[in-house]
Subunit: 281 residues, 6 copies
């Protein structure tokens, strides 16, 4: 069960409202790198968490914190929209400036919300919950969470660089720091589970003798003859999990050209397709 | 530019076609853990890659390999659909078995493709390219790629466990091994860039003194009073990047309750909302 | 800011796990009538709320409660999936029953989550945040909220009727009761704002003299000549807002056939379209 | 079956074409508050309507009218796009104005339609038919329809306020009036079914003794200790359906922390998760 | 403006309701090959039609007819759902048959509509209006319309083959015939515009001397060395528009490896990427 | 299996980077008329191709070529973004020009990719793989492919007209030429299968005597009485397949008003709907 104190985790202050920056901030709310995604991702990982309770607790705790981040950003969007233009100039060509601001806005900020935030990204694309990764495998999920916080922090620094507003920079410096911590804590959870090497390959519960081990550490070259392959740490030396040796292998098909049966009479194909290739060859 | 030899990277053989397994295999084609996603993700990362050429080459090479994996899976779907039921029994209740198979199928396999694969997941949801992560930050991308291969290998092992078909198990043992290698190679690329610690926090080009460093390594407790916090490796000891010390901090708002201006007269609000809270308080 | 006590708002108990019912329950999590939608909807309405603080408080309170409902349902899905089939029978036709259960499952419950809930509906379609209605107009939002709780309660009663599991019926009887209350409270908020009549037409801040008042209370008949129009309370008698009188008006165009300019030479049309209809007529 | 006379229900006139306003108008075509949504919603409610014929007739009639509204708006978009810029200036920085207009356009108006309307919203997001609410419960549907017309009228007034074009204001004054009537008529249908009180709680066919009536009229406080609860009309006094008394109840979990079984060996989890929490506690 | 007579264009009769066939029929309503798509596509093509009025009339007429087809199919879905199971058996394993039927249903038919149609496809994916092709180029649109009717008729024949219900076969035989006619009429419109050859290449208003005519009729071979190219009518002989001669050309890059600038300091990249490849080479 | 030589099929050169044109180019990458779509469409048609091998080879060849086109366009986007503004002016109103450029950008080009391409359209809507048409019917697919190349060439010519950059015009002149060829080759494939007439109606394997042949060549007039029908080549003369004669038929319902059963007691309807219309009439 959940509770609130109605207050912001960190102060949100806008010195000069900027409706274009309001649009940009939407990426951190409803974008794939944004806060709705991490909140829901950590919640669903927690709610479906099987295994030791401490990981469930960790996930649940941080999911709950992320709600406060969505709240901060939604507030920042609303404050940046105060005073935004609501009408088109009769003749845009005689007043480029106003038109420029309004033209660059997310129109739903005017038309759909009355100057408030939306669960959408900076292009107005609504958040889609297929981005919630909760695989039932804790290592896969923890790496996914590092990914989410890495791309989230990249985004937050770009927003930081985009604005000159001291209030916004202040808020973002807090969110950037939290993204630092969250990258750290998911890695700490991997360490807690025995460390990255022990976790590999994900999932580590599948017996590796069942996989085709001749290609488990082979870098297969797909560059055409005459082009130098992409060699590097990944094509020679011990593998990262210490269980094998990287090798460089020329790309070549192990299979043949696939051959499907002809279409069945009642399956909606053209008559010209009713040809049995296997029989013919 | 790209070329093909029309052959399969690895043989695809189905001993007993099973249209239900064809549905399941779709997850590995068009699911978020699937091959269209990784192919496009690595291609877009390569095409937008700024920095040393070797990473672009690495990405481009593996993107090209992934096309062959989609091809193998699409072939496997088509072969599993051969002989699938195309019509409903007149009375399903007198023949549960046939009905059961058809009922469990992806109906678009019958109605939309004439017994062939689709770029959709196992529930028939089409692939959405918002899942292509290509952030312009190589470390973020490499972690995202480990995530993709981790969730991909989890999926492939589940498919392996789902089927008894020797041909399908063989094909999957190959794909599982490739997922092993691909997890390895993206981690090798991180090592090549100086190792995980040097890469943190992502992005490492943002000066950390600009973030609120008092919360950069703080685990903020969001459990209500009286409930033990989620302590662990993430709440004490040195941080994973060696730059700080984890601490456990009680959750408490640093900000106040947010207060927005009243709606503007022409902004489409109700008259009852025209109340200036700030002025009143 | 938000907090949790890790406990369920109401006990979730499953006597006989049923993976098909797990699929059905997903509608109440990620469906358009479900709990993610109301949680996000009330949060975004609260975070963007302009006007008296009490409505913001009301919205924020209930948004926070809804999180607990998602949590209950996600737990119910995970419990219903315990013991679910993970593999296909070698020959489905010799064992219809097992196949039947597996065939009817959301395959992502096996393949993507390891037997846990997803933010998707009962057909596996991910939640899309465009369903979050937060218009900036409190009356519009309150009616939208009654809609959400009405369709939510319809759904919950259908789930109640679908299952015989005593634990699930118990949980649903709680959720149904909360949907009753939430329908009530949003209507109470409308009463608090002066009542439904005073709120109409939404938005009531737009001067009605600016609308074409000759058709503001007219039921325009679109049935073809010879077919009796759809008469009823809506075509005669005083209007619901007490400001007009309903009338029945024959459908007839007030405008002419629209006439667009010909395509411009460089706009990508066919040469055959370069015909000036206006000039010709 | 359906028929047309090729004429507009109301004249559509644009005095000064404005491609930015064309973008804005798209919200009323393909937005969630728009006309495609209501047309399809009323059609699907009508086509699936079970019960007295008069409601089906009402729905079918208005669905048919809404087609004429999409047509008017699509015509308005096409007329606003006449004369729109089709090319970028060689150097935008030397001509801010033209760039400003083009930059603010929906690019698909140039690239995909040759200066005509799209079934998309003002941000270019295509209409998604999940927004068609047709629940099979007439009261739920009628409230959903009031919601649609409420948010639709809010949108139309915002568009009205956005433009100075006399032709557009005229067209919108008609659509605003129709939204007034449609709000009225759906409420009239509820009155026709016995009135709002009799309709509650939706669905009224579910025996209320099956719900947990101790929380059917309870406002559960989710504000943390020390923060005043959101009291109001919704927390005391008779309930809106006259069947109960509102009360204010402190939020407290009735359930325990959920506990899931450990992952099964072949379910793709990590080995570290194979821990039986229930057995351990 | 539009009108209805409330009657079905063709009788819809279901002899033995089959909820699985109801699911299948959804593909013809909300699938990409379905009737919502063609109705909206022809409407948007008509509403944006620039050029001679006769094409607008043709499009508007058929769009209007397609509404009647959606209506027929929605009615067919509702009738096929009458008597469908609404509850799970307490123990599915003791009654495979009933479970089998329910498992194979679109659960939203039970949970979201009360046994009526949805604007979704046969897998429950909602219709997405991005499938409305209305390019502003009449030849492109007419070919798109042939495509729509071709895939529509393929679908309708597959549905015909799927069912044994005489009423459903009768309804489908009507829809199949209309798809025949609609394929014909769009081709007739192309003939009316001068015939297919004159229409090519679409758009025919773009001066062909501006394209790289050396590759306008060249079949570029992308098969790797040693694999026979895909020769046929498309690689030799006169081109279909009579303006050129097909040729077979070996695939070879005309460009070099692309080289992007290094990331800018404040653009969120990793420090390791700050390497100027152009300067180094 | 697939291979690459890392080189561009045709040189991509940008003389004056223009981030607005980068946004426009996205339509050709991730739009429904774009290259991801055709690449995936031809691949899925090839991988599921049943019948003579030559069509599979043709499809596979061109799918492979299309990858090179996505690559060219992605490179063009990255080059157009070099030097793009990354920050908002402190006061946009004092510097309209910079604001104008940034306002018109796809913000994800700054925030999500670090100045590189995305698999999205020009409005930032991600590519959705439901646009991959692969019907299992070769004639339907070939017409779909002509459609794709027709709308693709329309788009490419509009992009050509939008820019003054010589490098971009050069690249587009190549892509336009390839779209010419690809229109030709799919038509050539139809000729190879016997020609368009022989292919009709698609699918030609369904016995036409099973369709309601009285309406197979009838143009049904849906214009209301008093409005002249849309007559033309499609309403008289021999049909395009030479199998019938076009006729003009007045629109009239052959069916009656549909009548559904009343809702079942436990199906979630309102009590007021429990009315048996059939019994009453």
């Amino acid at each position: 069960m959940y509770y609130t104190d109605k207050k912001l985790q960190f102060p949100v202050r806008v010195e000069t409202p900027n409706p274009i920056f309001a649009r940009a901030l939407q990426q951190a709310i409803g974008g794939v790198e944004g806060e709705i995604r991490v909140a829901l991702q950590y919640f669903f990982q927690a709610w479906g968490c099987r295994g030791p309770a401490k990981y469930r607790d960790l996930l649940l705790n941080t999911a709950t914190e992320e709600l406060a981040h969505i709240e901060m950003l939604a507030t920042a969007v609303a404050l940046n929209l105060e005073g935004a233009p609501l009408s088109l100039q009769e003749d845009v060509s005689s007043d480029a400036v106003g038109g420029s601001v309004l033209n660059g806005m997310n129109f739903r900020h005017i038309l759909s919300t009355g100057l408030a935030a939306l669960p959408e990204n900076s292009n107005g694309v609504p958040f889609n919950a297929s981005h919630v990764y909760a695989s039932g495998n804790l290592a896969a999920d923890m790496v996914a969470n590092v990914t989410a916080e890495g791309s989230g922090r990249v985004l937050a620094t770009r927003l930081y660089n985009m604005t000159n507003d001291a209030g916004m920079k202040d808020m973002l410096s807090f969110l950037i720091a939290r993204d630092t911590m969250h990258q750290q804590q998911w890695l700490a959870a991997i360490e807690d589970m025995g460390g990255l090497t022990a976790s590999l390959p994900v999932p580590n519960s599948f017996p590796q003798e069942k996989e085709r081990q001749d290609v488990s550490y082979a870098f297969i070259n797909c560059f055409i003859e005459g082009v130098a392959p992409a060699q590097g740490r990944w094509s020679e030396g011990p593998s990262m999990d210490g269980k094998g040796e990287f090798s460089l292998v020329p790309g070549a098909p192990m299979g043949e050209e696939p051959m499907l049966s002809p279409p069945r009479p009642s399956s909606g194909a053209q008559s010209e397709q009713m040809f049995d290739r296997k029989a013919a060859e």
